[in-house]
């Protein structure tokens, strides 16, 4: 089981919980923390399931719902807002035909919002999986989405 291999990398100590959850989520094919992920983490750290669930639900980088193969996290904090993130959000919703938090029908994209990414110099910005993309325009977004659609 891949989950056991992940757990073995960390000492069973509570201060490793965020690392374990990051790793479990990154390796889940649907890029979220499933019940099984939370269960194995709780057993490994010898804490109740509810405890791990409460921690996982607190941090925005963790998702408790299945997600698409690409995760878009558009920044909507004031600096990006000033530089036009609002109209980009409208555009992304329209193009992907999803609302914030939703996943496209083909399972390729999940649209999320995030607080400041610290990429304000190239606002408006977003993260596509682990990659930051800045100076966004509808055309640039189209190109990025098209490239990802072709992959996989």
């Amino acid at each position: 089981m891949y989950r056991e291999a992940i757990l073995k990398k960390f000492k069973p100590s509570l201060d490793n919980i965020l690392y374990i959850l990051h790793d479990l989520q990154d390796n889940n094919p649907q890029r979220y923390l499933a019940n099984d992920d939370i269960r194995v983490c709780a057993d490994y750290l010898k804490v109740p399931y509810s405890y791990v669930h409460s921690v996982a639900s607190f941090y925005t980088m963790f998702s408790l719902e299945p997600r698409g193969s690409n995760i878009i996290r558009l920044c909507d904090s004031p600096p990006c807002h000033l530089m036009g993130s609002k109209s980009l959000l409208t555009y992304l919703k329209k193009t992907l035909k999803v609302d914030v938090g939703g996943t496209t029908k083909d399972g390729k994209f999940t649209l999320e919002l995030t607080s400041c990414l610290g990429a304000c110099g190239v606002a408006p910005a977003m993260m596509l999986n682990d990659e930051m993309v800045g100076n966004l325009t509808p055309e640039k977004v189209d190109a990025i989405l098209e490239k990802r659609r072709k992959e996989s």
């Binding site: 490793n16 965020l18 004031p78 600096p79």
Partner: protein, 527 residues
């Protein structure tokens, strides 16, 4: 033996990597090899050179020519023209090179230029090589402290320097260390707060990416001063390159015996561990950060007890910001009196700012405490974009305050801004031009707080929801008489009753935007 005649520095930070710096670097190295110049031209990586949003940036030395927006396609011509024929390629030259000195408070350029403190090595050394940090005088301060200063003398020197917390709270660093040093207990901790989440702020990221060893040395000095043997750096999960560079730097310091047991043959032992956050603005609050480090939800703790007496796992703990700790080595090396020659009497030293929004050249700068907002915007950032007029600035992030045009000549430091009911905060300066809709900006700030309110205390959880309802109504031109007073009243109550600074600070953006732009907000209600 090869004799290098040109050094090409390529800025590798999260921003330039985004713009394709790795591909440019590869193209450059390949082209230099193709032209047979490998022995003559050295390509070196460095951190941010201070430009933001200018694409991939290269600096060619000894000439000191800055090239911006470089693409792999430009490389053959650049190598041929500049590196082969010695003619700088004009079309790619950055019109104004970033200042590698501190912007002085008397007015940029008029006084003798002073070297930078925090950003001294950023954009100059290769952050992935400990040797380059050492060559620039790195780890001299810890050497000096371990061989010739007692821990209390280190604390005293920091106290005398007047260094105050650069994360925004501006509490005296020396006092904080002194409390922790005097606190009972054998086990103590140093935590570096690198959970930079204040909208508009990314100075800590650029410090971490550009000069990670300076932070390590600052933490070692803090550890020596208070009697701690372990340090943690809590970095936000999105800062991948910062985490990578810092972990590399820590490994190098361990290899050199600068971290570990009996450092430099003294009795002092110290090690540092990196902890990755998972996305929660409230974890920038020191007790919430400690909870998160312990593996819990990041809810703030009741204070007192303060972390200096009961912090991580109940032990005395110092929590300092990245920029604060990065000031420490230079202070110990050069002395408190030297540090006090920068800045103002009440606020010595410099401040690192990220200046963004509707300015001609956004960037990372280090300015003396007391520099005016006008100088920062117009002398450094090239003024307002597209020749428009200045309307206002949001200083210190979402938990900061708006300033109007009549505040351009205010001296920027922690103490002075407080007199105008504003704060310096984390050092973010978001500049807005005349076309900005202030209702829209305030709406964005309030939405941010509603999202980031952790839900722990009632005033903040309910207050942020109500504030969003009201501002959404105003933005939709459905506001009613009395809505503005409600915004003030709710945020005022939150200031008095919220559990932590998150809810307490919302009063600032609301009251300041009303102070300068009330007419505009009222007009929207009466539409």
């Amino acid at each position: 033996m090869s004799l290098v005649r040109n050094h090409v520095l390529i800025s590798i930070d999260a921003g330039t990597v985004m713009a394709g710096a790795r591909a440019v670097e590869k193209a450059l190295i390949d082209e230099i090899a193709k032209q047979g110049l490998t022995d003559e031209i050295a390509v070196l990586e460095t951190g941010s050179v201070g430009t933001i949003g200018q694409g991939v940036v290269l600096v060619v030395y000894p000439e000191g020519v800055y090239y911006a927006n470089v693409t792999p396609q430009d490389i053959p011509q650049l190598v041929e023209e500049h590196l082969l024929k010695g003619r700088p390629l004009k079309r790619l030259i950055l019109s104004e090179a970033p200042k590698q000195t501190v912007i002085t408070k008397e007015k940029a350029g008029l006084l003798k230029e002073q070297p930078r403190i925090v950003l001294r090595n950023c954009g100059i050394i290769d952050p992935e090589k400990i040797e380059e940090y050492i060559a620039e005088g790195g780890y001299e301060a810890i050497g000096k402290a371990l061989t010739s200063m007692k821990p209390e003398e280190v604390t005293e020197e920091i106290k005398k320097s007047g260094l105050a917390g650069r994360g925004g709270a501006s509490f005296s660093t020396g006092m904080k260390w002194d409390f922790a040093r005097r606190a009972a207990g054998d086990i103590k901790y140093i935590i570096c707060n690198a959970d930079e989440g204040e909208p508009g702020t990314f100075k800590d990221r650029l410090i971490l990416e550009g000069d990670p060893h300076k932070l390590i040395e600052g933490m070692m000095l803090a550890g020596y001063a208070v009697g701690a043997n372990t340090g943690f750096v809590y970095i936000r999960g999105e800062y991948a390159l910062s985490i990578e560079r810092l972990e590399k730097a820590i490994a190098q310091a361990r290899d050199y015996g600068l971290l570990g047991t009996n450092i430099l043959e003294s009795t002092f032992s110290f090690d540092i561990f990196v902890m990755k956050g998972a996305g929660a603005y409230v974890c920038g609050e020191e007790t919430a950060l400690i909870e998160s480090l312990e593996g819990k939800r990041g809810h703030p703790r009741n204070k007192p007890p303060y972390p200096v007496t009961e912090g991580l796992w109940g032990k005395p703990t110092v929590v300092n910001n990245v920029e604060t700790l990065s000031n420490v080595p230079e202070i110990i090396k050069n002395g408190a009196t030297w540090f006090r020659s920068y800045g103002t009497d009440k606020c010595p030293g410099t401040k690192v700012y990220t200046i963004i929004g509707n300015v001609a050249t956004p960037g990372l700068i280090e300015a003396e405490m007391g520099t005016t907002l006008r100088d920062i915007i117009f002398e450094y950032a090239g003024g307002i974009k597209a020749g428009r007029k200045f309307k206002g600035a949001l200083i210190g992030g979402a938990a900061g305050a708006f300033l109007g045009p009549d505040m351009l000549d205010v001296q920027m430091d922690f103490v002075n801004l407080r007199e105008y009911a504003a704060v310096l905060g984390s050092g973010a300066i978001l500049v807005m031009d005349e076309s900005t809709d202030m209702v829209d900006m305030l709406q964005s700030v309030l939405h941010f707080f509603r999202h980031e309110s952790c839900g722990h205390c009632v005033p903040c959880r309910l207050g942020t929801a109500q504030l969003v309802k009201i501002i959404d109504r105003i933005a939709d031109s459905k506001g009613t008489q009395g809505d503005v007073d409600k915004l003030l009243k709710i945020s005022d109550t939150m200031r008095d009753t919220s559990f932590c600074p998150l809810g307490q600070s919302l009063y600032l953006p609301i009251s300041s935007s009303l102070k300068y732009f009330r007419g505009e907000i009222d007009a929207r209600i009466h539409q």
